[in-house]
């Protein structure tokens, strides 16, 4: 080791120069320290930034989804006062406003529409040609088709008592939206033909959903009847920006848009109409989004509109669910990143400590040359800050790369328009975090290094920088508090932050305790093996080697156990998830729900499913019932007079209507956890409950329940408790009874069908509804796709994270082993000089590494099992660990240190004595 030159002056500049020289001299190791810290930092930065981008994008997109900045919706027109106030806003040049009506109604298609599509004139509906140019509804139609004369119909419609509607078919339910020309403020209405405004506003015109048009055989240019008006179809709607708004009744019915001005003329509005009145507001300067102004306006509107059932929504608060989900998912990853950061920090601190130990001699010399403790402290503090800066830089780079990758993933997955941005806060955070950790964790070591007297160092009295227990305690405490604060901030909850920090510290302390015990045991064993056999020699020396280098062994056992524990815990959790989610089964999963099926329709429906190449499913009866008695006691209603509706609803939850079913056998998603499920032929009145539901109602096996099934009491005894895997997408019920109890009760049947490919669904649905109009089909495809997409990404991210953690673990392990390298080389050289064989040397190290592996695997198994169980319980997933998993953990923990150790030291074993001695310098 060459002692750096004495600085020309002891001023700050000189110290900095000296620090830089040391930094450069040991650049390889500095790189390692910086990288160790950078991984965790990078993950945190990426997550934070990603979350911000997503939130921002969602907010921006929310405008599109609302087609406005603020939307006011109510069951009546707005009071005049509010209307004036909105007009004023417009006059002041602050907001544009647009009115909109949404309501369900019946639309009558023309009779000839479905007759024979091939015989019809005009071209394909998606490409209306000039010849089929729609004539304007209010003018006499020039169309060659025998369609209704719109104006005459409108005229006749003025006398509703004698409407002549013989040219129209049975009306169908549609969801009407009446819009003004300013619609939509944000986003675009996609239609065919594209220019939908032309011939729409100011005319008796309408636009239909493409699906509706196809189902009814309608085309652009056809005339349909709505209320008393005949409307010409001017375009087909392909996509609507604010499609999801305007829920309530008929939300699932196909969309029909009409000009706002003709809405009154349809005769559909008036007393007794159920219409959603909307006013959309848009700031005049959408580039400069003044969030506060929007919030202000919203508040004023809320205050003005003290009418029940009026909703005022600002785009800033839209989509809370997606944000919520993202936030929650992100917290999980932030926690994992924090652990990765901790792991990196331990590795970094341990190797920096070793480095500083090796620097003792240099420090001694520098001290002799006249540098004071203050200078030494400044020198190494600067070095640490330098490492921190490098770590921050790496972290930032990694963070940018990761968030860019994450962004494109989320973009594909959630179909969000994400704008890439990097907030300066994250740049600061990156550097701040890295510097804080490199400086904070090494401060105590640097301080005691500086406090050593040159005599103590140079006489060789101090082989290691002494660290006071107090300094260790404070460093640990600071780390604990820091983690707690960070976690609490990320989770927005002290409780969660506390839980996380405590679990983590508990895990670390547990690891530490186990390791100390194991090291003690090793020392004891090494003492006992004194026989002359070569095996005894190898064992004795292997163990001694492990025990004697206590600080080093402790560090890397700790880094290793925490690392592998983390990875195993992640692995276990991931597999628990996967097992629960059964993601691989998605392709065979049901994607349609059929409800409201009548018993006598079952065979016919099964045939249709067969015709479409699906496997006929089991139909489950659904019986509606209210719970009235438990164990013969009537459920008392609490006196809740004056309480809010919500409170009453909650109190009445128990008395709510339930869906029951009866069956002979369980389906594959159900597992009985206590009691026994009845035999197929049971004639008793037996009940089986879902576990959580039973817990919530405080019911157990042996209790009796009486239901009121449309006026008739049905009583049964609980004989089993089940758990249900709801992700199976099979129809499942909280309460199941024996057929004896329920088969005569009023019921409908429901089932789920797997119909692949999904392109068949539309025709299937049409075929089914034509024959059985009462059956409702719910298409789960999109929901399943979304769930599958998000789940897939989540699991993929988890897997990536687990691998990254493994990589960090390996990296740090290699680094930590590297830090003992100098000593190991010297020892190998000496053993060699004393005549030790290659085999023996390797065997000694194998003993050491295998012992490390054994300790690690035992600790990891115990601790990751525990941690996994705790977390799984908190996340409410079934915790499962398989023998294969156990073996995997065991082998990983066992082979990892062994493999890495052998790899790192292979060269050392082979090298000659002098070469090793030279390299150990």
């Amino acid at each position: 080791m060459t002692a750096p030159q004495r600085p020309t002056s002891q001023d700050a500049q000189g110290i900095t120069k000296l620090a830089w020289r040391i930094f450069w001299r040991y650049r390889g190791r500095m790189l390692f320290f910086a990288t160790a810290i950078a991984v965790g930092v990078g993950f945190l930065i990426a997550l934070g930034n990603l979350l911000d981008s997503i939130n921002g994008s969602i907010a921006r997109q929310a405008r599109t989804l609302m087609a406005a900045d603020i939307s006011i919706s109510s069951g009546q027109p707005l009071p005049p006062k509010t209307q004036t106030w909105i007009k004023d806003l417009e006059k002041k040049g602050e907001f544009h406003s647009s009115k909109m009506l949404i309501f369900p109604s019946m639309l009558a298609p023309p009779k000839q529409a479905l007759l024979s599509p091939s015989s019809r004139p005009s071209s394909v509906s998606s490409q209306p040609s000039a010849s089929s140019k729609p004539s304007i509804a209010s003018k006499p139609s020039a169309s060659s088709r025998p369609s209704t004369h719109p104006s005459s119909l409108a005229a006749r419609a003025k006398d509703p008592k004698s409407p002549s509607f013989e040219n129209f078919r049975t009306p169908i339910l549609v969801n009407i939206k009446a819009v003004q020309p300013t619609y939509p403020f944000y986003g675009a209405l996609e239609t065919t033909p594209k220019a939908w405004r032309k011939g729409f506003f100011g005319h008796h015109a309408c636009m239909l959903d493409r699906s509706l048009a196809e189902q009814q055989g309608l085309r652009v240019g056809d005339t349909v009847r709505l209320g008393v008006l005949a409307l010409k179809i001017t375009a087909l709607i392909e996509a609507e920006p604010d499609q999801l708004t305007g829920g309530g009744f008929g939300a699932l019915a196909p969309r029909v848009m009409i000009p706002f001005d003709i809405a009154r003329k349809t005769g559909l509005l008036g007393f007794g109409s159920r219409v959603s009145y909307r006013t959309l507001l848009k700031t005049m300067d959408p580039q400069r989004t003044d969030l506060r102004r929007i919030a202000d306006v919203k508040k004023t509107l809320r205050a003005q509109l003290q009418i029940p059932n009026i909703r005022v929504t600002a785009y800033t608060e839209a989509q809370p669910t997606i944000r919520d989900i993202l936030q929650r998912v992100a917290i999980f990853f932030i926690f994992v990143s924090l652990v990765a950061l901790l792991l990196g920090a331990i590795g970094m601190a341990a190797s920096v400590t070793t480095f500083l130990n090796e620097q003792m001699e240099t420090v001694g010399i520098l001290r002799c040359m006249g540098l004071g403790p203050r200078d030494i402290s400044a020198l190494y503090t600067r070095l640490c800050v330098g490492i921190g800066i490098l770590g921050g830089l790496f972290g930032l780079t990694l963070g940018i790369a990761l968030s860019a990758a994450g962004l494109s993933l989320v973009q594909n997955l959630m179909n969000l328009q994400l704008a890439w941005s990097l907030h300066w806060v994250y740049i600061l955070e990156s550097f701040g975090l890295a510097i804080l950790l490199t400086w904070g964790l090494n401060a105590a070591t640097v301080r005691s290094l500086a406090a050593l007297s040159p005599q103590e160092i140079l006489s060789g009295r101090q082989s290691q920088i002494p660290l006071s227990r107090r300094a260790l305690f404070w460093t640990g405490l600071a780390l604990f508090v820091g983690f707690f604060l960070y976690a609490a901030r990320a989770a927005l909850s002290l409780w969660v932050g506390g839980f996380f920090t405590l679990t983590l510290s508990g895990m670390i302390l547990l690891c530490l305790l186990f390791i100390l015990l194991a090291l003690g045991a090793c020392a004891w064993i090494a003492q006992r093996i004194q026989s002359s056999s070569p095996l005894a020699f190898v064992l004795r020396h292997g163990l001694r080697q492990l025990v004697r280098q206590r600080a080093r062994s402790l560090t890397y056992l700790l880094a290793l156990t925490i690392g592998v524990t983390l990875i195993s815990t992640l692995q276990i959790l991931q597999q628990s998830f996967e097992a629960e989610v059964q993601i691989t089964r998605y392709n065979k999963m049901p994607n349609l729900f059929l409800i409201d099926v009548q018993r006598e329709q079952v065979e016919g429906i099964k045939q249709i499913i067969r015709d479409f190449g699906g496997t006929p499913p089991t139909f489950n009866p659904l019986v509606r019932a209210r719970l009235t008695h438990i164990n013969g006691k009537k459920i008392q209603r609490k006196a809740l007079r004056g309480a809010s509706l919500e409170a009453r609803m909650r109190a009445n939850a128990i008395r709510r209507e339930y869906n029951l079913t009866y069956k002979r056998t369980l389906n594959e998603s159900e597992t009985v956890v206590s009691g026994r499920f009845w035999k197929a032929g049971s004639t008793k009145m037996e009940i089986s409950l879902e576990q959580r539901w039973a817990q919530r109602l405080g019911l157990a096996i042996g209790d009796t329940m009486r239901f009121d099934i449309v006026g008739q009491p049905v009583e049964g005894t609980i004989t089993s408790i089940r758990t249900i895997n709801w992700r199976s997408f099979l129809p499942n019920f909280f309460v199941v009874m024996t057929p004896t109890a329920l088969q005569d009760a009023p019921q409908q049947l429901i089932t789920s069908v797997a119909l692949h490919p999904p392109s068949k669904i539309a025709t299937f649905q049409r075929a089914l509804v034509r024959r059985y109009p009462n059956v409702s089909v719910i298409d789960l495809g999109r929901v399943i796709d979304l769930v599958r997409g998000v789940l897939g990404a989540f699991l993929a991210a988890m897997r990536v994270l687990a691998w990254v953690c493994l990589a960090i673990g390996l990296f740090i392990l290699a680094g930590t082993l590297g830090m003992g390298q100098r000593e190991r080389r010297e020892k190998v050289a000496l053993m060699r000089a004393l005549g030790c064989q290659y085999r023996t040397l390797v065997a000694i190290d194998v003993v050491e590494f295998v012992t490390i592996g054994l300790i690690t695997s035992v600790v990891v198994m115990v601790v990751s099992w525990g941690t996994g169980a705790v977390i799984a319980q908190q996340m409410q997933i079934a915790f499962q660990i398989t023998a294969a998993q156990l073996l995997q953990i065991l082998l990983t923990a066992l082979l990892l240190p062994f493999g890495v150790g052998m790899l790192v030291n292979a060269q050392t074993y082979r090298a000659g004595v002098q070469e090793n001695l030279r390299r150990s310098e």
């Binding site: 070569p534 020892k827 000496l830 000089a833 000659g912 004595v913």
Partner: protein
């Protein structure tokens, strides 16, 4: 200083007894800054069983280098070392190690004790490597430490020992297993005259009694004087072979 004659090759062909080690035109160079730096430029030497040789020379003249080449701790650049007529450079590390384990004791200039072992453990290490029972090795080590008056420090770790104490542990370690050859690199450099004398006595004692060959680097002329041969090293070559009077007398 002794008078010197320009006589490059040391061994005399007249020697009747077969040499234990035969060094023939030994070269050793290090790469320094990409260019070879020649330290030993053709050293030839015969070492006979039971001899005691003092190796002297200026600092940096290559004494330690020669010593470690002789003990097989490093590889020669050019030339040969024959052990009982067998060329050592053909041996692999394990063969060399086996030879050292059985026949060689080595005292490093900077002691080189195993840092994580106590003095006692350091001394018993060569015995354990030889396959001794742990208990027995310990006993022998204790005897040696006792002999070198550092038994009270037996359970100290190297960093807790003074330089002289460390040196004595290193010496004890070198002859614990009664080797045939002892290579000692300035074994008394850190000792006070009295202790130095005592250590030297014991080394010469075993040299005498057990016909152990002793090759010792030293700067101390009085020490060199007590050896049977005294070979100065200068500019990478052995300058001359000064047989001490004692040896001459013994031969006669």
């Amino acid at each position: 200083m002794q008078t010197t004659t320009a006589q490059p090759t040391a061994p005399t062909a007249t020697s009747t007894k077969e040499a234990l080690m035969e060094v023939i035109d030994l070269h050793k160079s290090y790469l320094s800054g990409g260019r070879p730096l020649e330290i030993l430029k053709g050293v030839s030497l015969h070492i006979y069983r039971g001899e005691s040789i003092a190796l002297t020379g200026a600092s940096g003249s290559g004494k330690s280098t020669l010593l470690s080449l002789l003990a097989g701790l490093d590889r020669v650049t050019q030339g040969q070392i024959l052990l009982r007529g067998d060329a050592m450079q053909a041996w692999d590390e394990d063969r060399l190690a086996r030879w050292r384990r059985e026949e060689v004791g080595f005292v490093f200039q900077d002691f080189r004790l195993v840092k994580s072992f106590t003095a006692l453990e350091n001394v018993s290490l060569p015995l354990e490597i030889l396959g001794w029972d742990g208990q027995k090795a310990r006993q022998r080590a204790e005897e040696l430490l006792e002999h070198l008056s550092i038994l009270p420090r037996a359970h100290h770790f190297p960093h807790q020992l003074s330089g002289g104490e460390q040196q004595r542990v290193a010496i004890a370690r070198a002859y614990a297993h009664r080797p045939l050859l002892i290579f000692a690199d300035e074994p008394t450099g850190n000792l006070d005259p009295e202790t130095s004398q005592q250590v030297l006595d014991s080394l010469l004692n075993i040299n005498d009694e057990e016909q152990t060959t002793l090759i010792m680097v030293t700067h101390d002329m009085s020490v060199a004087q007590r050896m049977k041969r005294h070979i100065p090293l200068r500019a990478g070559r052995l300058e001359e072979d000064i047989r001490s009077a004692k040896d001459e007398g013994a031969k006669a």
